[in-house]
């Protein structure tokens, strides 16, 4: 069986990889968008926090024998807590300054985290076994579908849409959206905006850590796993524009798929295709696909 002259198994598996990458793009750019919405800061440490999420899971398993399912909860909590501490002690001092200082601070933090983990674990990757429940795969007839990979897509999308639901449909989400529009008035209405900001940063960081745990069995767990990914995610964010939550999810998934397709038809370009799309979008629609002109 062939699709556009490409064996369907190859086509399917590349599309699946694209879908998985897209899920990671979606969940990471979602976190960036939420943080940016309320804090006006681009969290450069997002990649490092994703990496630490994966490492916490790996350390939990190898040192303490804590299994994957517990790590899926524990790691985002721990890294999210670290995010809360960072926000309370450092980021908070920068809100009155130019937004670029937030970018620079989180860049410095990213260097510190990556340096520390590289010193401890070296640059070679550690492998993390797929949990027993999700081992093996299903033969779909035209391709072989590893269960874990299907699980990653389902889990990532569930979290993404759950977040969307929370922001768009709940009271807390309403506060958050109002705070994004005009924090002063929300504060004047008696809502604890600083607490909301802390919570938001913690949640965005926890999303990154969650993605890290999901990624651990697929990619090698290594100190540098986040830094190259985060630059692609930045391009995704530029393409989508940070105005809309659903926009970041859709853009992330779509670009992952396009990347997968490029790997089938023109593998050499797969590393740069997202950047090329970014250039085209900037020329045609500078505010991004879902962005508002600001």
């Amino acid at each position: 069986m062939e699709i556009f002259g490409v064996p369907s198994a190859l086509f399917g598996s590349q599309l699946l990889i694209g879908l998985i990458n897209g899920s990671f793009y979606a969940i990471l750019s979602l976190g960036l968008a939420i943080i940016f919405g309320l804090l006006n800061i681009i969290n450069f440490a997002h990649g490092a926090q994703y990496m630490m999420g994966a490492f916490v899971a790996w350390i939990a398993l190898t040192r303490f024998g804590i299994n994957y399912w517990a790590a899926l909860l524990l790691s985002p909590l721990l890294i999210g807590l670290l995010g809360v501490v960072l926000e309370r002690t450092m980021l908070r001092k920068l809100y009155k300054l130019d937004h670029l200082y937030g970018l620079l601070l989180t860049f410095g933090l990213a260097l510190i985290f990556e340096g520390l983990f590289r010193d401890q674990y070296g640059i070679s990757g550690q492998s993390y076994d797929v949990p027993e429940l999700l081992q093996g795969g299903i033969n779909l007839g035209f391709m072989f579908l590893p269960i874990y990979r299907a699980w990653v897509v389902v889990a990532a999308l569930t979290v993404c849409f759950g977040t969307w639901f929370m922001i768009e449909k709940t009271k807390l989400g309403a506060y958050l959206r109002a705070g994004t529009e005009n924090p002063q008035i929300v504060q004047a209405l008696g809502i604890n905006v600083p607490l909301l900001i802390t919570f938001t940063y913690g949640y965005g960081v926890a999303l990154a850590a969650f993605a890290g745990v999901l990624a651990a069995p697929i990619y090698q767990v290594s100190p540098m796993m986040g830094s190259n990914l985060i630059i692609v995610v930045f391009a995704v964010v530029v393409i989508g524009g940070m105005g809309s939550i659903m926009g970041s999810i859709v853009t992330g998934l779509g670009l992952g798929l396009i990347e997968g397709l490029t790997r089938v038809f023109y593998p050499e370009a797969s590393a740069v295709v997202v950047f090329v799309i970014m250039v085209i979008v900037l020329l045609v629609r500078p505010a991004g696909l879902f962005g508002r002109t600001a």
Binding site: H99, L103, G108, L111, I112, L116, R118
Partner: protein, 317 residues
């Protein structure tokens, strides 16, 4: 306040003369290669500062200009047999052209988006450098000959090479200084302070930003091409985003929007790196990150900025 400011300004030519003399004498006291590295990164940081310090645009992709110019210069000198001065010129022009492309795209957005766009474009350049055969991939371009300046002066002598680098630095520095202190520079500062107002005064802001970006990129290229000649190597490190981050750190540490700050920052970081490389290994990244955090949280004026503030305060008393 006004008279104190002018006191500082009156001292400026004196400071430049002293620094120039130090620069002339330095290779007889300090290892020339080390000095050349400082001057190359100093020019790189000064070029970067023109954009961030005076136009308020944070480019997170300046490594692309440094690296591309290095590759172009290395390729022309080694494989086409060009003389070193033509190699530097070619590198500068190549970086300027790339800067025009980057600039055209990136100035469509401002602030944080500008930083992310330049970073993403530079990453694209990195991937291209990794895949294209002409750059030598992971190996880079090795064994680039220093050659003979104007076909006459042998640059394999470290002292001769040093004076070429020093001359290149001085020319680049002068161009930046003149740009900042020209009417053009005043408009750049106006854009930094209040862009809508500059637009309402009738200035074509996009054009000014683009020109500043091209100047900055070209001079970053000059630094990169010169660096390739000094170390006889053009490598992937120079196009990596780590280098883009490093130049931000140098500028921030030395003093954002000060004329001499980037040079001081570059000298500090380069010295620190060579001190630390032997003793602490991979902790260098951690220390660089910590300096970053400290600068942003508590030391935003940078070294030169703090000194200037001190002098001003002393003047008042």
């Amino acid at each position: 306040m006004q008279s104190n400011m002018s006191a500082l300004e009156r001292a400026t030519p004196l400071i430049f003369i002293v620094l120039f003399v130090i620069g002339l004498a330095a290779p007889f006291f300090i290892y020339p290669t080390f000095l050349m590295k400082i001057l190359c990164f100093g020019l790189f940081a000064c070029a970067f500062n023109l954009l961030l310090g005076y136009v308020g645009l944070l480019s997170f992709g300046h490594a692309a200009f440094l690296g591309t110019a290095g590759y172009v210069c290395g390729w022309m000198v080694r494989d086409l047999g060009l003389t070193p001065e033509l190699g530097i010129l070619a590198g500068t022009l190549a970086a300027g052209a790339l800067g025009w492309i980057f600039g055209t795209l990136a100035i469509r957005r401002t602030g944080i988006y500008f930083a992310m766009i330049t970073l993403a474009l530079a990453q694209m350049v990195y991937f291209l450098a990794l895949q294209i055969k002409a750059t030598g991939g992971e190996d880079g371009l090795q064994g680039v000959p220093r050659g003979h300046l104007f076909g006459l002066i042998d640059l394999s002598d470290n002292i001769a090479m040093y004076y070429l680098v020093f001359a290149v630095f001085c020319i680049g520095f002068f161009i930046i200084y003149r740009t900042i202190h020209s009417p053009f520079g005043q408009i750049l500062k106006a854009i930094r302070e209040n862009e809508p107002r500059a637009i309402s005064l009738g200035y074509d802001v996009a054009k000014f930003k683009l020109l500043a970006f091209v100047i900055s990129a070209s001079l970053a290229g000059t630094a990169g091409a010169t660096k390739t000649l000094v170390f006889q190597l053009a490598s992937l490190t120079d196009v990596h985003w780590h280098t883009s981050g490093e130049v931000v750190l140098m500028t921030l540490l030395g003093g954002l929007g000060t004329v001499l700050g980037p040079l001081v920052g570059a000298a500090t970081i380069v010295s620190l790196q060579s001190e630390l490389a032997d003793t602490v290994g991979s902790w260098v990244t951690v220390i660089m990150g910590a300096i970053f955090v400290a600068c942003v949280l508590a030391f935003r004026r940078g070294i030169v900025g703090e000194i200037m503030a001190l002098v001003r305060r002393a003047g008042i008393r």
